[in-house]
Amino acid sequence: MTGERILVVEDEPAILNLVREVLAEEGYEVTHATNGADALQAIAVGATFDLVVLDMWMPVVNGWQFAAALTERGLRVPLLVMTAASSHAPAYARDIGAIGFIGKPFDVDQLVLAVRNAVEADGHVDGLDRPSADRGGPDPDFGAAPA
């Protein structure tokens, strides 16, 4: 399973680098952003992603706002919550309809596993929960959501 495009959104540079490195070694194509606004921008310029690894507490645009903005634009990207508030991780994931979650700190193997599961499960969930037509569908200006 290689070649999937993953966007890592994390404001802490050291963690961002770590995650990028690990995922790149696994063969994923990794793009990054340091806050929700930059991440939206990356999606807006037409990139499509198979998964967004999303930190929740970030300056400028946080994880919730990022997820809300995606929904607002009718974009459907699988999200994986990555948070230091480990005990709240499931709740955060539910908040934004994420496909999975991982707490910080994590074992590298755990991260890899979580990302792999998320990417693999995506097609399945996507099929079940496609954005409905009345919500506008994919916006051509912002690139299509993965289908």
Binding site: D11, E12, A14, I15, L18, V19, E21, V22, W57, M58, P59, V60, N62, A84, A85, S86, K104, P105, F106, D107, V108, D109, L111
Partner: protein, 604 residues
Amino acid sequence: MIFAIVLARALRHPEPAVIDTVVFFGAVVFLVATGVAQLFVTPQGQGAIVLSVVRGTVALSLPYLLLRLVDDFALVPLVVRSLAIAGGVMGIASLVVFPPPYSVPHVLLLVAYFVVLQSYNTVRFIGAVGAHVGVTRARMRAAAWGSGCLALALLFAGAAAAAPAWQGLWTNLVAVGGAGCGLGYFLAFAPPRSFLRYWEAPAIRDFLASMVRLPAQDPILRIEEVVERATAAAMGAPNVLMMLWDEERQRLVAPRLAEDDAQRAPQPELTVASRVFRDRRPLAVLDTIASDPANAEVYRRLGATAVLAAPIMVDSGDRCYGVLSAFADRASVFSADELPLLSLLARHLGGFLQRREFVMNMRDLEARETATRMKDEFLSAAAHDLRTPLTVVLGLAQLLQRHLRTRPEAIEANLEEAERLTEAAQRMWRMTDEVLDASRLEAGEFTGERRRTDLVVLARDVVSTIPSPRHRLEVDGVRVEAEVDADAMRHVFQNLVDNAVKFSPAGGEVRVALRSVADEVEVRVTDRGIGVPPHDLQHLFDRFYRGGEVGRRGFGGMGIGLFLCKRIVEEHGGRIWAESRLGTGSEFVLRLPTGVTDNGGAAG
């Protein structure tokens, strides 16, 4: 009847003032009794003369005896006393030398002596009315009335001798005067309970009113001041002392005298007070000098000749909070009667102190609960914030492990990874130090000494430690000095600058401007960042507040950091606030007094 009451009291409290009262009323009773006896048995010959002389003697001694009563509450000049005695002795001698029937001038002379002296007594009683308050005032007024009536009655008796034509009129007037005198003295010297209560009511009402207005959490010194003033007003006593039992020192302590306690020992009010505290019963010592001659000098110096003391306790329960005592340099004739009033006030005070104890305990409990909760919150926030560097350390360590297995030959790359791991671990080390610092500050341990510090230098120092090539950092100001705890203030600057950098976009400018304004210094940390919405602005300095737009909490973020900044700044007697508009940036302003305000520097 008055005699019976005062006699009963004299047997209970054999004080000089009370004994004087007994002698006076004893004399009155003798006159009345012999007068009544004459209606039934008319003594003949020699007996009649002797009785008449004795009655005259006793009657003439009345104004002098009353003068002694006056002397008990207000000093009577020696001249007056000598003249009174001389006049009395001469009068009595004249009775013996010129036996009855008495000539008119003789009688008039005796009446004149009596009336003049009695008028003097009346005037002194009237004077005492003004000098006293509450019950004593009412009783002094009654005594003045009684004395005045007695003087008038004698005047009329004299007139009867001078103008016997209107004998009937004079007899009636004498009777009216006598009745007035009796009523006045009755109310003054042996008032019924109901009268006392009536007179006490306003004093008690005023006392309760001042206790009700007194907040229970006020400092004890303030409470003592109010209590003593209210008690003095109610009792009409010149000095009132509230002493509380100090469990630690195992002795009674007057809060306001706690300082110079040692040099006041032995305390006369303490000896009476400690007896009262031990027995849990009110006590009146109307002549401390006589009862404790060893400490006579101290009593005199304090003006504590007469001491009334009552235990401060509530009706229910045997808890005694202390002793409330009233003392004066002269015992009023009625002093002993005021003991029940003092007891009543002391019981009300006991109720107040009990309520105060409840309130204080409750506040202590709340403060402890808050402290515990804060500690818990702090701990969880610290644990949360340590997860970030820990994530990096753990991740890098595992990555290195993996690489050592998969590419052991790539020594350079693996070494570089090991270096990153070391760096990450060092960052975490710094962070744990910060957490410890924060917890130390949190616990209120501002042990740092305040020294005159150039805040501009401090600001440059802080800015130089921030590795942010993405921002333009600027410090503006020349030699702005204040007395601060440099370590604590560095914490504040670090926090504000970190925040400004964190919430500024790349290339944004962060400016620290310092200047002196009158006797304050002003520091403004300005950024062109995302700004703070108005509804967050007012909560920015609350503990653990996370602005909706800001998102992240932590020491470097907007959680504990600003709360601690506020604490430190306020500890220095300064203020901190934020001004901001969403989208255009924020400005954090802090003002500090230049110098040490009061006890800061010397105490360290």
